[in-house]
């Protein structure tokens, strides 16, 4: 009894769906639903979280993300330029930095700054500065690698043409190469931003004042406060998605658009033929 390829494909698809269905059924039947609902979905009890979780929590999450991203972007650009520089010591320094900060968890950098700096230098700058600098230092390493790839993706002839018109190296970089590189790295840079949004949750470890709470701190705090079990964490998670999902769509849109921009002539021809057919 031999099967045709089509039958074989159907059988294997059927088996896959069966396994998934079985797994879901097992979870549905074996789980203790009353307890799960009582621990995770008591939305009736957490009215007290609002509006602070949005006005303070979401606001602080966005604030920490934006400041550390801005810091990371500037430092990352400097590192990317160093990494593509012709002066070898610049390249070594940038490589050392990138390998170091990519190799250690962001949470250690955060602890080093939040707890270490006051001890070492007696400084008492505001907590958000610690978060910005620590997460910025850490994300700069990733951003630098992304930007370096973008800079190297700009054809060499662009720099040569700019230099042949009398532009100094820095001017050619600023006016010709970097704008093109940014267009190329917009999608991966958006992903970097999303990662950073989630990494701001690490700030809870510094034990901050309530006005400095970001979403995760609000969630954790809510566990003991409302008697609604883990429901506050669900709220925090949903609010992260409110930020990150639109960004994901934005990244995909950038990606699609840049794919079109790089082949304008073909894109035009395609639309021309489609309209003819239609």
């Amino acid at each position: 009894m031999s099967m045709t390829p089509r039958q074989k494909a159907r059988v294997s698809q059927g088996i896959q769906i069966g396994v998934f269905a079985l797994a879901i059924l097992l979870v549905v039947f074996l789980a203790n639903w009353p307890l799960i609902i009582d621990s995770f979905f008591r939305f009736d009890k957490i009215g007290g979280m609002f509006p602070a979780v949005i006005l303070t929590g979401l606001k602080n999450t966005l604030f920490y993300t934006l400041t550390s991203f801005a810091f990371g972007l500037v430092l990352g650009l400097v590192l990317a330029l160093m990494k593509t520089a012709s002066f070898a010591p610049y390249r070594w320094l940038a490589t050392a930095y990138i390998e170091f900060f990519r190799g250690i968890p962001a949470i250690l950098v955060l602890l080093a700054f939040g707890l270490g700096m006051p001890l070492a230098f007696g400084t008492t700058w505001p907590q958000w500065v610690n978060v910005t600098v620590a997460l910025g230092l850490s994300s700069a390493a990733y951003i630098a690698e992304t930007l370096r790839a973008g800079l190297q993706a700009v054809p060499k002839g662009q720099m040569e043409a700019a230099r042949s018109l009398g532009m100094p190296h820095w001017r050619a970089m600023v006016t010709i190469v970097i704008p093109q590189a940014f267009k190329i790295v917009l999608p991966p840079l958006t992903n970097e931003f999303i990662l950073l949004t989630k990494d701001t949750s690490l700030a809870y470890i510094l034990g901050m004042m309530i006005t400095q709470y970001e979403l995760t701190s609000f969630g954790r705090n809510g566990i003991t406060e409302y008697g609604a079990g883990m429901t506050p964490l669900i709220v925090a998670g949903a609010l992260y998605l409110v930020v990150t999902l639109p960004l994901s769509f934005l990244a995909r849109w950038f990606e699609k658009r840049s794919a079109q921009v790089s082949r304008p002539q073909r894109a035009k021809k395609l639309t021309a033929t489609t309209t003819k057919e239609a």
Binding site: G157, Q158, E160, A162, S164, G166, Q180, K183
Partner: protein, 261 residues
């Protein structure tokens, strides 16, 4: 035809004992070349002969390892020379056009004028438009390079270089990347530029153009100048065996040469 030629005095080039190596590979083995102001010189030769490298040394896109270059009495190879200042006087046109894809055609032709020469925006646009008109592309000023054909892009590249009012123009195989039917447009513009008195150094495989337009043709092979002289002489009546062999291959592509080694 163009403002630039009227405004800037054509400059000559003097190259002596120019050497360039990449690692152990010596690409230019002591080149001597003189280009008088207003003269058109075509560099011809097989690929790998060093003609593009020679051209790129003139505006220091390649750093020579030895020898001297003077452009308009300006010692280009002097370590203290202001390279960027020198390059504003030396226009360059590339095989791959190298237009800036994120700027419009007009933006391509004004960016260096405003950022380097510090011209006012209105003046820069006026100059750019008159150069674009001269290459027949004034109507495309607000398009992006990606929307143009190869031949149009190369004409924009020429206008971009001329908008800087250079005293010398370098062309690095300007028609090699073009579709055959657009080659003529670009050559016509170069011919007009030559007639207007621009000093031009052109790396090319277009023997017809070289014969008709060039005052002097330089044949290079293996990093040395094998033969140079009046265009009609070098192309019509070459003296050296290597020149003869090269021209036979180029002018008659169907001619099959049996390699002896």
């Amino acid at each position: 035809m163009t403002q630039s030629v009227r405004q800037a005095a054509a400059a000559g080039v003097r190259i002596s004992d120019l050497r360039k190596s990449y690692g152990d590979n010596e690409v230019l083995k002591g080149i001597d070349l003189e280009v008088s102001p207003g003269e058109v010189v075509c560099l011809i030769g097989p690929s790998g002969s060093g003609k593009s490298t020679l051209l790129r040394c003139i505006n220091l896109l390649e750093q020579p390892n030895g020898g001297a270059i003077e452009v308009g009495g300006y010692a280009v190879t002097d370590p203290d020379v202001d390279v960027d200042q020198m390059r504003t006087k030396v226009g360059m046109v590339f095989q791959q056009f190298n237009l800036f894809p994120h700027l419009t055609v007009l933006g391509n032709c004004t960016v260096a004028q405003t950022k380097v020469l510090k011209r006012a925006k209105a003046e820069a646009e006026r100059t750019a438009l008159s150069e674009l008109e001269a290459v027949g592309l004034g109507h495309l000023a607000h398009r992006y390079p990606g929307e143009l054909s190869g031949g149009q892009q190369q004409r924009v590249a020429i206008a971009r270089a001329l908008a800087m009012n250079p005293s010398l123009m370098l062309f690095d195989e300007p028609t090699s990347a073009l579709d055959p039917e657009t080659v003529g447009d670009v050559l016509a513009i170069m011919r007009k530029l030559a007639q207007a008195g621009m000093t031009m150094v052109v790396v090319t495989h277009e023997m017809g153009f070289a014969k008709e337009v060039a005052d002097k043709v330089v044949f290079m092979d293996g990093g040395v100048v094998v033969e140079q002289g009046v265009a009609a002489e070098v192309i019509g009546n070459p003296q050296q065996a290597r020149t003869k062999d090269f021209l036979r291959r180029v002018l008659d592509p169907n001619h099959v040469v049996v390699e002896e080694d």
